[in-house]
Structure formats: C-alpha cells, structure tokens
Symmetry: none
C-alpha cells in the first residue's frame, strides 16, 4: 500500500546534545527527509543557540519550533514507541534493530496512529543507561568497527533517510490494530508500582534498587501494553496492595 | 592504468569542495563505513587543510592519504565506473539510480574486479555538467523537495552507508539472546497472581472473572518473560500482597 506523503513522521529527540553545530546539522538532515519535530533534552550550551540556527540552513523553522525539556521523560511522554540509537549493542532485553528495520516498524506503527520517537545521546558518550530503559528497541547503525565513532548529525541523517525511504515505499499493512498506551500512561503505572513496592519494603538492599527499577521498567516496556491493559494492571497493583 | 582488483570499496571524489570542515566530515563518514580512498579535485582553500583534519576525528589517515588533482579526469583515470551524485535528475541519457541501487551495482562490479568511484560536486552548486558527462550513472538521493539542499558530508554518508550495507549484508547485530521462561514457570506465576487477586477480592463480578483471567494471561504471555523476570515478578506479587 502506498503511503500518504503526509504520513506523520517520527520525532527526533537529542538527549543532552553538546554542540550547537551538531543540533543545527541534525535539523537540516531532518528537513531533507521530511521530519519536522525536534526535541532537546538539556542541551549543554543552553537554548536558543545561534550556531544551531546557522548550521540548520534552510531548516531554520525546525530549530525555531524545537522544544526544550529538562528531563527526557517529558520529551517522550506523548510518544507510543521510543527507539534508542546506540553505537553498540547493549545488554538490554529489548529487540536490537538496524536503522532500516526500525524505519519499517515506525512506518507501520504510524499507520496505526502511533507516534514514534528516535532518541540520540550526547556526542561524547552516547545514550546513558537510564533513557535506554524507556526504549522499545535499540537501533544500532552498522559501522566499520575500526572507525566506530560517528558524528551525531550523521547518525540522525541515516535514520531520517531510512525513514523517508520506508515511508515513500510500499509496505504491507498489518490489519491488527491496537491502541498502545502512551509513555505517560506507562510511567504512571510504573510510578504506582514502584511506590507500592517501596511502601512494602521490596527494595531491601538500597544499592540494588536502581538496577531493579531498570529491570522492571524494561520488562513492562517490552510488553507493548494498551491503555486498557495499563488500567487493568493498575487495578491489579491496587488490589494486591489492598488496605493497609 | 593498473588498478588493484582487491580494492574492496569505492573511491570518493569531491569535485571542487569549498569548506575544509565538509571534507573532514566526509572523511569521517567514509571511515565509519569502511571506505578509505578520498580524492579531491581543486579544493578551494588548498591542501592540506587543518579544519579538514580536525573534523575527520579518528579518520585522520583518510585525510592524510587523500590525493589532490587539478582536473577531475585525473581523479577518475583508473576507475571503471563513475557515479555522479546530483540533487536532481538532469537531462542526461544515462541511468538515474537511487543510492541503494547504485550501492548494489558497485558491489557487483567490484566482484568483477572493476573499481567504482562516487563523485560529489561543490557545496553551493553541485556537480557541473562537464564531470557528469564522464559518469556511467546519476545517483539522486531522494529528499523532501521543500528542503532539498543537502550538506555535502551528509550526502557522502548516505552513499557510504548504503555501500556498506550492500557490501556487508545486513550486519547481524547481536539478537537479544535470553532464556525464555518455560510455560510451567509462567503458569506458576500466573496461578500465584490469580490466587492473590482472588484473596484480595479483585474479581468482584464473578461473571467477568473468566474474561479478566484471559486478558491478564494474554498480557503476561506477550511480554516474553525470562526465568529471572518471572522470579522478579513473583517477588513483586509477594511484596505487594504483604502480610495478611
């Protein structure tokens, strides 16, 4: 089925980007491939950034409309699916995709009314472990391991290009439609669970709490819960906790 | 002129490049995707160029080994096939290819011992008509016509990436390996949960219980839990229920 050229595009999220030049170059790359929404989480040099505007060239409107967030949780709250780009596969129990596979998934999810975001980490370090626990899948760009260090904007352009090619191509449409819960709903459930567990003394070894919290989030993210299922799960948590 | 039939990758030719930064970024992109040979035809700001070296990052050897030519004829003399990238299709009687189609051709020609080159024009103007008459095919990167102006290094990275993917095949990124819980373990957790919910009065409408049970089982099955995750979940259930 041919895709409407007005097909909604993924949101690009840059987590803690360092250089304005790279933000601008990323925006220009987005514009080249029909992606308009840019979100920045704690850009190092503040915002607005003159260098970003210059490097964006004709895509200045993408820079002007970019939103800035202090926590990445806010940047992904209204998204249904988050793809975390990393330079290497990590030991995380979520699918690992090539940019092409991710692009095809994103196009299919959009046809079902689901908003996707592709998240990129800081130039020097890449994505930290914490944002990755919010992701539905890792996206690993295949590179020559001898020169694995990739420029941020060039990683963005490859993902944007693959999305554009996938969105303009022809793909089979899955008839199964399901309303995925938004990240906001998932987080609400997760907070509910974590708070309940804390109350009940689940985290008996404080040093292990962060990794336990990450593992639980990964499990719950992977399940692709619908809004209805999130409500059911919250009912389950409520019921299990019962009256104190 | 003799060519190295073992040459594993295409040659990148930049015709009259203007900015050292773009030359360096192009070299870095080449390094990321296993392409080593860079040739420059009349770089505007001369050569060597300090900015190119800085932007190349870890791919400094590609910059150091780059050759400079005054005429593009010399830069392509030992090549068998030349691909000319342009931002728009031109009125030239040669095939017009996407970057992906060109990449597949280049891989095939290399298998037959033929050396290919991919040629890029100056930042401001793109390739002039004269070099295009030496090309075997045009390569047009599909872009959003509203933001058609593409950065030179980003055009290079897309062609380099497509070649790498075509030459190396879909890189098997480590599939997320994990030990799925057995149905026995899943059922044990499920029974634990259902019993706990019953004790807590979750199934307040007996008529709805069977469908609620089915829905919960579906959710928990879909998540593909590992044995370790099942143990964690049972710990969660136990903690939430607490002491009666």
């Amino acid at each position: 089925m041919a895709i409407d050229s007005q097909a909604p595009s993924p949101i690009i999220i840059l987590d803690q980007p360092q250089m304005g030049e790279n933000i601008g170059a990323a925006a220009r790359a987005m514009g080249n491939f029909g992606i308009k929404q840019l979100r920045l989480v704690s850009p190092r040099d503040g915002w607005p950034n003159e260098k970003a505007k210059i490097m964006a060239s004709h895509a200045g409107d993408i820079i002007e409309n970019a939103t800035v967030h202090t926590r990445f949780h806010d940047a992904i709250a209204d998204c249904h699916r988050v793809y975390a780009t990393t330079s290497r596969s990590r030991n995380v129990a979520i699918p690992v995709l090539t940019p092409r596979e991710a692009a095809m998934e994103i196009v299919q999810h959009h046809l079902q009314g689901q908003q996707s975001a592709i998240m990129f980490g800081a130039e020097r370090t890449g994505l930290e472990n914490d944002p990755i626990t919010f992701a539905n899948a890792l996206v690993v760009i295949p590179v020559d391991t001898a020169y694995a260090s990739m420029n941020l904007a060039q990683a963005v352009v490859i993902c944007a290009y693959e999305w554009f090619v996938a969105a303009k191509g022809t793909i089979p449409v899955s008839p199964h439609k399901k309303e995925l819960a938004s990240k906001h709903e998932i987080e609400g459930m997760f907070d509910h669970l974590a708070t309940s567990l804390d109350t009940k003394g689940f985290f008996s070894t404080p040093a292990l709490k962060p990794s336990m919290v990450r593992n639980i989030r990964t499990m719950l993210t992977r399940a692709d819960f619908s809004s209805q299922e999130v409500r059911t799960l919250r009912g389950i948590i409520r019921a299990l906790v019962g009256r104190e």
